[in-house]
Symmetry: C2
Subunit: 282 residues, 2 copies
């Protein structure tokens, strides 16, 4: 079984893969679209990518690429805690406060916004494709006094020194990762215990009509189908046109969810199942 | 009157400011939080920042900073078309296809994802704080074969040569900008004709309860209050807890919107008015 993930080695996604697929071969890819393409093209059986962070919200490129480009199925999700540290090359350990540049993933930079504003004010930051890529870049450029924001595994993997631990602004920071597959199949069994199941739908409203979203939610509400999330994403056809991505807190059944879907379609919505899958906590 | 905006000169925000406040002094700031802080601190009377793009969705830092950090009021909004071009320093005009790096704002890079994937595959990209900052960096580094993605005004302002026009993946691309103020006051009159009014509310649901969002939408729906947008943003207290930012397609009145708000509060929601303001098309 071949697993692709958002690399390089030692990203938070890599950490999730090590829990979900402890015995499988895992291949890092540089971007989320490349992860998704690798499954579409058959290079990997599954891919693991981030889909939502407790602080930054949805990872839009994951949602958009699944909706607009490559329609894979979600076959599992895992939630993992996120702890960010400031790290530098050991040669620059004594002068990190005068760093010229801080590198990290955009979400990690945003997650440490208060720390950066308070303690590293005026120091430029640059977005990298991942926290681990930032750590790798710092490892490869000891001659530059630069710092990375990344996790503990990245410090270990790239031989960096952590100079400030837990610099994220808010506790309770978690990221939700999804396992994606070309077929709507069951996730291979592991030792992790599922914390329940979810079903994710993508709903497009018929046209700009007063209360259309209210009608959609009624179809779930009167069936006591609890929604854990509703998220709007632009359809890319103009300002004000949205898809709604809806997470229902139960697995697909034979009556309630199909009934709600049939009603929505009768109302002129288009409805697509992105997946029905178990949920894990790491 | 002093206007702050997301600079440097020649950003899309600058373009919006030139329409909204053609005769006023406008000061560029480097980041969206700095724009917002400048009004809070009294350095500027108003600030203009992007809040939503037709392709990329909400500008999360604007929403999050308004909700969590500095509670300014929205006193106006303007929608402007977005056209992205690829530009290089004139010295590199003949070798742009071998560029080592493409710089732009993250949204602009995302908006040109297909073009970059198709025609500039494998060339690294780096996020800058704005499209204009990318253009300025390219101007200042003629020795490096790098390109920027930015608007036509930026090419003019920074003396760059446009080598590929209109490289954005989708047409109908617009960005919505908001004018923010410390007081909930009327926007100073201009020659622009308003296309209607909006009221924006931030609603926090009481607790994770089946159908709570459905109840919220009912309060608007039965009053025929049309919602042009509903957006969830994390409360930063843990995965699964959201604020809902709701745009109502009418100005604040004395009966309907206050009635809906009172009902929501009686149901245990917290409700805050971000503003009631005219809407312009540039």
């Amino acid at each position: 079984m071949k697993i692709g993930y958002l690399g390089p080695r030692a990203t938070f996604t890599d950490l999730a893969v090590r829990h979900l697929f402890p015995r499988e071969e895992a291949t890092p890819f540089v971007t989320i679209p490349e992860c998704i393409d690798s499954v579409e093209e058959g290079l990997c059986d599954f891919t693991v990518v981030p889909i939502e962070n407790a602080l930054e919200g949805s990872v839009n490129i994951t949602l958009d690429y699944l909706i607009h480009e490559v329609p894979l199925f979600i076959i599992g999700e895992a939630t993992a805690p996120i702890q960010q540290h400031l790290m530098v090359h050991p040669e620059n350990e004594g002068r990190w406060q005068e760093a010229e540049l801080i590198l990290s993933h955009s979400h990690a930079l945003a997650q440490c916004h208060k720390f950066l504003h308070r303690e590293m004010k005026g120091i430029a930051s640059e977005r990298m494709t991942s926290t681990a890529a930032a750590a790798q870049y710092v490892q490869e450029h000891p001659e530059r006094n630069i710092a990375a924001i990344a996790n503990g595994l990245a410090a270990l993997e790239y031989g960096l020194t952590i100079v400030r631990e837990n610099i994220h602004d808010y506790d309770h920071n978690h990221t939700r990762f999804v396992v994606l597959s070309k077929e709507d199949q069951a996730l291979p069994p592991s030792e992790l215990v599922s914390k329940g199941s979810k079903t994710t739908l993508v709903v497009t409203l018929p046209s700009d009509r007063t209360g259309a979203l209210h009608q959609v939610l009624s179809a779930f509400s009167w069936r006591n189908l609890n929604l854990s999330k509703i998220e709007s994403r632009p359809t890319k056809t103009g300002l004000g046109n949205y898809f709604f991505i809806i997470d229902i807190e139960q697995p697909m059944d034979e009556v309630l969810i199909p009934g709600a879907m049939a009603e929505l379609e009768a109302l002129g919505c288009s409805v697509k199942v992105l997946g029905s899958y178990p949920s894990f906590k790491l």
